[in-house]
Symmetry: C2
Subunit: 300 residues, 2 copies
Amino acid sequence: MSKDPFRGVLVPALTPFRSDLSPDADAFVTHCRWLLDRGADGLAVFGTTSEANSIGLDERLELLEHLIECGISPNMLMPGTGTSALTDTVRLTTHAVEKGCAGVLMLPPFYYKAVDDDGLFASYSEVIQRVGSDSLRVYLYHIPPVSKVPLSLELIGRLLKEYEGTVVGLKDSSGDWHNTEAVLKAYPSLATFCGSEVFLLNTLRAGGAGSITATANVNIVPIRRVYERWQEKDAGELQKKITAVRKAFEGYATIPAMKAIIAQYYDSPQWCTVRPPLQALHPSDTQILRDSLTQLGFEM
Amino acid sequence: MSKDPFRGVLVPALTPFRSDLSPDADAFVTHCRWLLDRGADGLAVFGTTSEANSIGLDERLELLEHLIECGISPNMLMPGTGTSALTDTVRLTTHAVEKGCAGVLMLPPFYYKAVDDDGLFASYSEVIQRVGSDSLRVYLYHIPPVSKVPLSLELIGRLLKEYEGTVVGLKDSSGDWHNTEAVLKAYPSLATFCGSEVFLLNTLRAGGAGSITATANVNIVPIRRVYERWQEKDAGELQKKITAVRKAFEGYATIPAMKAIIAQYYDSPQWCTVRPPLQALHPSDTQILRDSLTQLGFEM
């Protein structure tokens, strides 16, 4: 794994499924290549946006191997490896390290709720110690709206102190700028990413590393422009534009909405497919979304 | 799988771990036998109480096989098979059917929150259709305090109608008697189990099938007595006693608390071990719990 933490605009790449719900590994490679060609600074494959937790353990292992075999550099990969089960998390994380991935994005175990910091510290500790590799780089994944298992500021600090050089970053998908700001202030050495590009400019101004954001699957170039020009005069205007696109998607179930738009772009209706419990966007909603995106001057 | 749904007092058997956190398959068999010897009407292994979602996929498959190889009848088994991932749920469920288990207790996919009934219906449908066995018997698992993914009354009705003879029961661990009552009233043909023995007498009086309850791991005989004598004059008194024991455990993290008491009973300190994110009960808490149980006349 590389020594320098990720920076910039990373994409939690969507996972395409065939109509029988099996992962379409080749369409996945195509989409990942497209994102990298357009400037993605890394691919946080197997994130929430990727429907990773709807995908089986073996399927995840195979998909990651396929990506790398097809020439996607593991230096650009930060796969999600956190599951509810200790041993499955160890298995996915060890595999990612063995394949040379530059980092992993690690959810806390997310089945039990209201667990305390000691339990979450022990969870991360066990995984890190069992993987037992100097090459491991962990990015903590704070996404309480979905996981319902928040990572407190104190827990982040404990992990950063105990596993300096291994715990190197964090994705904050709380949707709460005050939390991101507090993390950035408390732990300036941590590579902190906002989980929505709505906060990208704020994050960069506060010393953050960038964003790992769902909507980068469809809007990578304008988002990267904010990252490149955040110290320029037009940064605020550029931020406004990407915020507007994000908000348009947030009016719908975001994952099905992005897949519907990508299906049009690739002219591949199969791209609309999501795994249950998610549901594909209704065609009439796709049309309304498409119209509002057109009004915003959006194009993929 | 047997044609008649389960009835009575089922136990979500605790899973013992060695000090290195690996499952202790033999201690597991011993505990399961002990429960059956004391009158358990079935074992809902790999439930929430069993820390199943902290246990890896392969470990679950192996543990189930070991139980059956050691002579625990699959007719008495209702393993939990619901995971967040469609294909993993199919794998665990197919395996349980192939091993002859009399039923499975199925969580909805529990990663994404605020999913709608159509998505949950599609999830259960996909699993049932992929398993594709006349022998499959599904018990729905409603445990919103932990899963954060409730099963609505409407959804239960849709599944019951579409998969009559396959979807045969439900465990209600909402902790909300009004919900259990509503399910019992709406779907009298469903084998409905309360998830806490606090509601056992109420459940039986309303036509329910019994209870699948954590504390049965330590208090099976008195709980079964309520089940046997629910139409007798002393039923209310018997219910009061088991409620008091339940409440004593609920003052602590219930899983570590039960493991601590079982560790004393088996004289096996290793039984205190839980997998993170859970944490073992502090010895001083164990003593306080032990004292309050003694005052209640509790014995295993």
